[in-house]
Symmetry: C3
């Protein structure tokens, strides 16, 4: 299961982060201190040049690489390497003032003023040209620099632009996709409320000033904006690859960001990188559930390219932009960093190395505080982590084997959010995803997060939470998966609409899945936040439905649970159907956890999914693993601020101490142990 390291010439766990010496050119002492403290902290990487365009090209066509030349050399001399950024995430003022088209228009079709980051049109030919020029300069200047590891393209792509150029590109995108207006009108059901388009030029993007209710339009606009961002990214990469074809490229992603279909985007990267800022609160009741969410995000980023990823940004101490910004308890930075590694990261990198002295993020945590020395608590914790990471180089490139996958699709999410029906406050897709993921985390089960275009056959069990929208083709893919022996666990709102948000006719679930699940979903009842509906399992166990209660009929499926109130009392609430060589379970109601967990547990057992640990884990403790041929590294992590004890009959040893581990193992608060298991 081992993958080739991302940077074969530097096969180390990376430790370091964003470095912005352009802010400190007036103070050479600071720059010297940076290098002393870089080494002292056990760092080996700097991410350079993010937001440095104004420094690199202070006037149009005038370039100044002084600060970057020095930084590249200094870092290399200090034993470090550089991931070099393209500066496109923030443009110099002169560029925006001279070429207003580079700035975005908002959803009222008004041009933004200069300001912020991420305020540029992805379509603008001028912006693309200016970015290509500076990118080429950077690539040509540093392509042979020994410090250069790879490319950090732009920064945290996000946002949408409603400018005339984007509008025109949107119309072209639609023409390519639908070919005829008839096809488009049919797909969007635009006859409703007399919205039939009779000329391509009539199509405006959704706007609060105009149309927000044609769901097909909203969907395609989100798809287009995502597509256009990826297209821009490709144009950035093209220049870099042309000049230095061997250096891997990435851009830093952000969990399940709404703006971009990361499944589409990741396909153009050499490796995935990730920025993460969890609001840890210093108490088990907050941080253990949060640890599950974060684990889900890590697994998602690892699954995109099915290889290790780079943790590109995190904070060594606190954020500054949340409503409340807390300090991490001593030891927690170690735990959180090791969690990233456990889930497939080959790095722990920070934003940023030295705190900025002014502007909006001046209070964001950093390795070096405004105080300036190594005598801070945070610096000491960073240094301790640096020392530990040096011992983990063997893990670089090791990968994860998952028998379970959760299926997630961006178009499904966009349609679900845009849909008007059942309840309109929050459809709770992510809550549903998380409730299943959390149960897997509690059980110590490696999980992949995959898209509709992934290979389903790799897995024993697929979890399909709220897959409201799928095409007939995806329906067939699920059908084939089950028919060939796979286990499928799906929920309320499955397959209600097709890929352009048209409802399936002939009874739900659509896309051919009515047969696969052996049920008909006739109606969906919505519960108010203060309402519940009792549910009873066949063996008498009770549960409680919230939010959604579908009124379904078994058409051959075994009924696992029944509603116990409302007019649908006595009708099925959960079913399981044998189909071909496999099984399909349908959960018709949302619950607050226990019922879904019970049904998942049963399905895990029926599918024969392996738990990584051979005994039940206490609350707050989890295990995830990475593989290297016949060696498995089990990361045993205690996310509690209290001690915990686990037991095992496996024959394990501690990777870092060599200690033999078996029987009862005591875990200190926030402790991570890496256990070696030979297969």
């Amino acid at each position: 299961m081992k993958r080739k390291p991302i940077f074969p010439e530097f096969p180390h766990m990376l430790h370091g982060g964003d470095y912005n010496p352009d802010q400190w050119q007036h103070d050479p002492h600071v720059l010297e201190e940076d290098m002393r403290l870089f080494k002292l902290a056990g760092c080996n990487e700097m991410s350079l040049g993010i937001f440095a365009w104004a420094a690199l090209e202070p006037r149009e066509g005038e370039f100044d690489f002084t600060f970057m030349d020095r930084a590249m050399d200094d870092i290399y001399k200090a034993g470090g390497r550089v991931i070099l950024a393209t500066p496109s995430a923030a443009r110099p003022i002169w560029l925006a003032k001279k070429y207003p088209e580079v700035l975005r228009c908002n959803d009222h079709f008004e041009r933004n003023l200069f300001g912020r980051r991420h305020n540029h049109c992805y379509t603008s030919p001028i912006y693309r040209e200016k970015v290509a020029i500076i990118n080429r300069k950077l690539a040509e200047r540093y392509k042979d620099h020994p410090a250069l590891l790879g490319w950090h393209v732009s920064n945290e792509y996000n946002g949408r632009c409603w400018c005339p150029l984007c509008q025109e590109a949107f119309r072209e995108y639609l023409k390519n996709k639908y070919q005829t207006l008839d096809a488009l009108n049919r797909a969007w059901w635009s006859a409703f409320w007399s919205h039939t388009y009779t000329d391509w030029s009539q199509i405006d993007p959704p706007s609060p000033r105009g149309e927000m209710a044609v769901h097909g339009l909203t969907l395609e606009w989100k798809r287009f904006c995502s597509h256009q961002t990826v297209d821009f990214l490709k144009s950035e990469i093209a220049v870099l690859k042309e000049v230095c074809p061997d250096k891997p490229v990435t851009t830093n992603l952000m969990a399940f960001h709404d703006d971009i279909d990361y499944h589409e985007l990741s396909r153009v990267l050499d490796f995935v990188s990730y920025d993460i800022y969890p609001p840890w609160r210093g108490a088990d009741k907050h941080d253990i559930p949060l640890a599950k969410t974060i684990a889900l995000y890590y697994d998602h980023h690892r699954s995109m390219l099915h290889q290790p990823f780079i943790l590109m940004e995190c904070t060594p101490s606190t954020q500054n932009w949340r409503p409340f910004n807390k300090l991490k308890a001593p030891g927690f930075h170690m735990l959180a960093s090791m969690q990233a590694v456990a889930h497939g990261s080959d790095s722990v990198l920070y934003f940023q190395f030295r705190k900025s002295r002014g502007s909006s993020e001046k209070f964001h945590g950093a390795v070096i505080d405004h105080e300036g020395s190594e005598n801070t608590r945070v610096f000491r914790e960073v240094k301790e982590l640096g020392e530990r990471l040096k011992g983990l180089d063997a893990l670089v490139g090791t990968y994860t084997k998952s028998e379970v996958a959760l299926v997630y699709d961006w178009s499904n999410r966009w349609m679900l959010e845009a849909s008007e029906g059942f309840q309109n406050r929050d459809k709770k897709l992510h809550d549903t995803v998380l409730s299943f993921y959390g149960a897997l985390w509690d059980r110590g089960i490696n999980t992949d997060i995959i898209g509709y275009d992934d290979d389903f056959s790799r897995y024993k069990l697929l979890i399909a939470p709220m897959l409201y929208s799928m095409s007939e083709e995806v329906g067939k893919k699920f059908e084939k998966f089950v028919a060939e022996g796979g286990h499928l666990l799906a929920t309320y709102t499955t397959a209600m609409v097709n890929e352009t948000d048209l409802c399936y006719l002939g009874g739900l679930p659509g896309a051919g899945l009515r047969r696969v699940f052996g049920i008909w979903n006739e109606e969906i009842d919505t519960l108010y936040p203060d309402e519940t509906c009792p549910v009873r399992f066949a063996d008498g166990e009770k549960a409680e439905a919230v939010d959604y209660c579908e009124h379904i009929h078994s058409e051959g499926a075994e009924v696992l649970a029944y509603y116990d109130d409302h007019f649908y009392a006595g009708t099925p609430a959960a079913t399981r159907n044998s189909y071909g060589k496999g099984e399909a379970t349908y959960i018709a109601f949302r619950d607050t956890g226990s019922a879904g967990e019970r049904l998942l547990e049963e399905q895990l057992n029926r599918a024969g999914v392996r738990r990584l640990w051979d005994t039940p884990l206490p609350y707050g403790v989890t295990v995830h693993s990475r593989y290297d041929e016949d060696t498995e590294y089990l990361f045993l992590q205690n996310f509690s601020y209290g001690e915990n004890t686990v037991e095992t009959a496996m024959d394990l040893s501690d990777l870092e101490t060599g200690e033999k581990l078996t029987g009862k193992i005591r875990l200190a608060p926030m402790e991570t142990r890496i256990c070696v298991l030979k297969h």
Copy 2:
């Protein structure tokens, strides 16, 4: 009391609803199924052509009536009739793109983009012209079609437009009304904050970008927008009447909609129709109070023209656009439909007959589900109702006799909402209206909801909730009503300002009512939401004031209750005054129900108002009646999800079963019985 039926040539209870075959032209099988299911469901009416403009006139001046020709014929062949819509509620895109003036401007004076429904300027000459053309085409084509019953003009008129054309029309409206700027400045008290107008052209409509605090301006703008909408409606009707003068016209209304003075609007209709979508929740504690609100709305629509109305839209199952959209319990659709009939509806019509496959309302309930067959719960309930309605043709045209009326005025509402004083979160006009109406509902008393221009002399008791604004003339009308023997029950904030929102001088209540009530209202104290003030009746009964406590003085009135705290402890809280041959009760405080109910009960008795039922009704049960000469039809309805029993000494029979009804009568959950009483 019987009225001529709305459609004398088709004197049946109508059952059916909005039908949009223009969305399904690509699938002839669907169109055939529609007719089969129309008959099967016991339907006899379709509302055709709402939002069909894009289908009827796909390009400017190119008309295509194919789908409508077929639908008219098919429906007629299936034994049905058609209420035909004018398509003005949504315009085709080509129209908006070619003539931008047809789109509205928002309150920032910005032109909307194409999108949504109800996005057109009511002033635009081009829009009026284009609407007139398509309306004339429709009228000419179908005027002699045997299926045509009448006209459904546009759809749910609402909204306001701030475009230059509307602004200019507003100025003309003001010139006509005030004649001189002096008169206007005086009426609006514009000297305050130096807002004196010295030229008509200086008058801009209220806008967040400009002026929101000149109450006279705000009031007249709302009056103008309402007036202009009615003017547009009149222009639509004119064409229809010119071509087919005999067909009655309506437009579908929406309860107490803020945008339009329905008293003014209803004057131009042949009959009133109503769209209603209550958020029934399936539990007595929510649905019984809600049933009272809905009953109020029905009574209001019946009272506008004092004749039966058409329930033009409701859903047979669920809405899709509320925050939470619940299914109706089995049987509830029957109850809710019979409630409409009880209050004067001669129909039960739906939006819509077949669920749209896409766009924003695709999950809105309909007679035919996406599933497509008659095998759904909803279809079965619709069919059951259809069968019952066939037995109620005798009720068509029967009317209601009310001895009590609630007085409601749109200008009063607009001024109260715009006013700044006492409390500014929610003046609670509608809560106050509802608290009196609910007490009447509990007692089984027919009630009319009337305006200032209605005939007061028809009633024994007038309830005047929060009539903050009235002219001297209206004051005189109330004075005359009481002087001649009428009973008047009024509340806090009565007659504070005149018809342009100028405060009455010389002590409140103004408009001459200080003498009628025999009190002086010196000050009004506002209570915070967490505050109450105890109140004590003369006989020691206690109550609790909330929101408003007026500090009043008796000037001859009998004091019925006193405040028991605050600095106004011991001063009057409610009074009754004999004036001429009548009585006027004043309630100076808001309470949460009991005190107002007690005072109402006393006044009902003193006025000799008849209860329809001869014994008290249990909670959740009510009676309303319709008359046909010497026959009264008492609708006895149980709005509870549990059983109830009522008792009577009257000699009744069941209209539908012929069963004799007297003594104890058991009502099943959600049951409606129609009891015949001969006078």
Copy 3:
């Protein structure tokens, strides 16, 4: 300590208020009644001409002073005097329509429409010119009128304008201040996110359409807008002084208004005046805390010029624009009015004398109600106060001696609000200020509220709440104050940034105060609203931290209290350091009151601050004093709605009754006694 009276020719306590006869010119009877009731109410002042521009100049260049001539004469004849307003706070419509530049642009750079008050550009040359013309006319016409006391310039200056003229003036302001773009870029740390300015023309003010995150920019924009308002005020004053140099000028201020640095503004006034509208609620639990806030505001206005101020506006009964507008209990108006006098006001003036009949404030309390007579409760209370004030002329000009000052700085507040860090919902500067002030109020201690440019050496104890931002120079001033024997009490977030919001390097507190406090503030932890952290004093007393817990280290300071939980358990939470001849206490955590109060109490004792009363005061009772050479007037006020008793060994007499006051003194609900103490 006595100051020269503001109006030496009329050395009386002023009683009266805003008078707007321009609204009533159509009704001479009203104008006559006004004068009758003016005298009857014991009034001696009217504030005339506020918002009267439309009446004074109905058309450009056409002036009409009829109403004002009459009012000036009538008031004088009635024994009264006039403070005459310039009308610039609201412009006539003709002016706005003809010269659109006089209207403001909002923060989206969009021009407002005519409307509201305070909707004019402070930069517009045309507006300045037109204001100068009308001001000169007024000054010339009335400069010798015997009724004229002084000038009320404009009204409640506030707001900001983003128009092109203001933008250009902003750039000029920056050029003058920073001289070079290099200096500006460095000060604003604009290299962050590539915001480096390379031309002055690139600088746009902060806007939601553009930049909101460059804190230096936000800060300077707020400073500029304040500066420009003061500049406008100066231009108004210049004309007045030119024509009638001897009449004192003021403008009415509003507590700690965010828009304008009142320390800067007050420097150009002859006297300070203040408008106050507290939401009194009629219950001790609301009104006693509120009384402390109001006392703080009064002390603040008195401290600006260190002389008595004029209470320019208050309501005799209720406001109309709050969410809930309550009546004042009988007697409360007396109490609240005497509070103003206790804190240094030489007047009680109202908005307004007669209630407007229409428009937005028609329900605002006034001396004369719409009812129109003297027979209202409110009129009687006003009259009672008028009679009492006549006996207090001896107090005119007497002043206050304070040994304690609270330090408050507008730039600090702006920076703290703009800053992103720790917690971002509400930094709670004002809560912190208030918690210390409230403890001083409870103890009966005169307090000044001063700025960074005030003379520190006047005080024994300085309280420095959340002085997040200060320059090195201010730091030195504090250092000198302590070194020379002063006592300094400071809190969390002290001296984190300099005067352009750049963080201090080298360890906090910055600005040289690390040595003064003898601590290093390493980190700041933020608590969520549902979190607390226990704190323990050296003697075992317990407290509870909320919001902020700084993780500090003693570097010589005595530790007064320790944290008792979190990872910083056992580290210092409060410290005291001897420095030079003085002491500096640092409170590293926010608490809900008790801990801060204890530390304040200790420091008051150590500094030898005198309590005005010689025994502890019961809850709700306070004492503040004014001095006249060797006589001190102690205002003993009971803010409770119940009775209270105080005790004293001082030898006092009642100013108004002559009664000897010593031993137990009983205070009726809401009673104020003015006790004479001879020194």
